[in-house]
């Protein structure tokens, strides 16, 4: 279910924030299946706040927002959100496989038993993120990078149509970063809309749209437009080395 014009995410004059005072306002967006929006900005610029609003964890302060033609947070089976995870220190030493399987809970609800297809999806997600050899280990015993791969696998098990990723490459080595780039490319190829917050400018290279943030929208558009030197200087105080 996407809206009549074929948009998966549609925002008009959206304002986001934690109270009635917005952190970022006047956000207008139209995203279609398979598109990638990259949010770039300094710490506290509003990237995570936008993602939380798209995920339905925060109410919009103002404006209109629709995800897959519905209110944010109302379609948990079709929208998956990867928050910034602190290193796991859970009291319970949950196994990696069990943490990943939690990604299917939105489909299973309270009563449905996991089918062989559900188990297959979990196995496939572990394979895609290269975490299958740690499947039976407690997540809290893994490195930060391995924990991040586990949380990525959990998001993939949702089999969603919209992926909201908050710094998915945080804590990952070069191989891990390439893995995330490949995963995003393959998800987009099957029509998934991806919104990703990042500090890395090169993550924006393959994006359809880049939004540069500094507690306001500094620029928005194709990477070559949104990342012009004058916008980067305004946002970070420096420009990209040529």
């Amino acid at each position: 279910m996407i809206d009549a014009a074929g948009f998966t995410i549609k925002a008009e004059q959206l304002a986001v924030g934690y109270t009635k005072f917005p952190i970022v306002s006047k956000i207008s967006l139209d995203m279609k299946p398979g598109e990638l929006l990259v949010l770039i900005g300094t710490n506290g610029s509003g990237k995570s706040t936008i993602l939380k609003t798209l995920a339905g964890l925060l109410k919009p302060v103002d404006g209109n927002l629709e995800i897959l033609g519905a209110a944010p947070g109302s379609l948990p089976k079709r929208v998956a959100y990867l928050p910034q995870h602190p290193v796991s220190t859970h009291t319970l030493p949950l196994r990696v496989r069990d943490v990943i399987a939690m990604g299917r809970f939105a489909h299973l609800g309270l009563f449905k038993r996991p089918s062989s297809r559900d188990n297959q999806i979990v196995d496939n997600s572990m394979h895609l993120t290269g975490i299958e050899s740690q499947a039976n280990e407690p997540i809290r015993d893994l490195s930060g990078g391995q924990q991040q791969r586990t949380h990525l696998a959990q998001v993939l098990t949702r089999q969603a149509e919209v992926l909201l990723l908050d710094e998915p490459t945080a804590g990952l080595d070069i191989n891990g970063r390439k893995l995330v780039a490949d995963l995003i490319a393959s998800e987009r190829a099957r029509g998934v809309t991806v919104v990703m917050a990042t500090h890395e400018l090169h993550d924006a290279e393959s994006a359809n749209t880049v939004m540069l943030l500094a507690q306001r929208v500094v620029s928005i558009g194709r990477p070559e437009v949104a990342l012009r030197d004058e916008f980067l200087r305004e946002c970070f105080g420096f420009t990209q080395p040529h």
Binding site: G56, P76, H90, L92, L94, F105, G109, L110
Partner: protein, 291 residues
């Protein structure tokens, strides 16, 4: 010495059954108390019921009804104080906790048998349980078990990541309140046997022991049930042979079992860490021979 006290005394048999029912109910609710970090609110709920029970005693109605009203007031109060006044949950719980405790003691002090009543509420009367208490405790166990089973997925998500519960389609507020409700039911049903002060020990110590070994919530509950039941058996024996308070003997046994289990896991982890270091740095020893 180990069996005869139970075969020769009906009141001790009843106490054992009641204690085991309390242990299993507390194991289920306690797993969530430990894994979601609800020990303080569990403590507050256990004490928040005091004014309700005291009022019920003065009015001559069932203490269970008073306890239920007390826990409802406590849960609603914590919710209102933390939301309206922008105070942290801990501060809100602390305020309500001492307020309700003080109110409970004040109401109880109106009774002519003040010390006896207060002691009965705080420490329970495990050796004085009757078949009606067993029915009530069994009912509480069934309700808590059914709710915990139905809500196992959102409860697990709440223990791991509240945001994930919300984005998975489970309202964190609704299921958090449901979790508190089963803790409250456990406290209400258990206060007559182990008392409001000691029920917290039964909620926390067995589940904390389970969390040392388990990788799943169901396993935490299973281990906690065993620890709680074994503690009930040995606690009653200690109480019988040495003429000590039954509830306190049981709870102290659960804490001692936790201490032994924690010591065992510490030693096991130290040995495992040493073995890992040996495997990771084998050249430290081998190298000297080569040279």
């Amino acid at each position: 010495m180990f069996i005869e006290p139970f075969t020769n005394n009906e009141f001790l048999r009843l106490s054992l059954v009641a204690g085991i029912l309390v242990a299993i109910t507390c194991a289920i609710a306690g797993a969530f108390v430990v894994l979601r970090g609800l020990a303080f609110i569990g403590d507050a709920l256990a004490h928040g019921v005091l004014p309700g029970i005291a009022t019920a005693m003065l009015l001559g109605i069932s203490g269970v009804i008073g306890a239920a009203v007390g826990s409802l007031v406590m849960m609603a109060g914590v919710s209102v104080v933390s939301r309206r006044f922008r105070l942290s949950g801990d501060t809100a719980i602390g305020l309500l906790f001492v307020g309700m405790l003080a109110l409970g003691v004040m109401i109880t002090s109106r009774s002519s048998t003040f010390v006896g009543d207060l002691s009965r509420i705080l420490f329970g009367e495990l050796l004085g349980v009757n078949s009606g208490d067993l029915v009530l405790q069994s009912l509480a166990l069934v309700i808590v078990a059914i709710v915990a089973f139905i809500a196992r997925r959102p409860f697990l998500l709440l223990c791991v990541d509240e945001g994930l519960a919300n984005t998975s389609g489970f309202s964190s507020r609704l299921f958090h309140n449901l979790m508190l409700t089963i803790v409250a039911i456990t406290v209400i049903a258990s206060f007559q046997t182990v008392g409001t002060l000691l029920v917290l020990g039964m909620l926390i110590a067995p589940a904390a022991t389970g969390a040392l070994f388990a990788r799943r919530i169901s396993t935490v509950m299973l281990i906690a049930s065993l620890v709680g039941s074994i503690s009930t058996y040995f606690g009653l024996l200690i109480s019988y042979h040495f003429d000590l308070a039954a509830g306190a003997s049981i709870v102290l046994t659960t804490v001692l079992i936790f201490a032994m289990a924690a010591t065992y896991t510490e030693i096991r982890n130290m040995i495992t860490d040493n073995n890992h270091e040996e495997h990771e740095h084998p050249h430290t020893h081998a190298g000297s021979h080569v040279r």
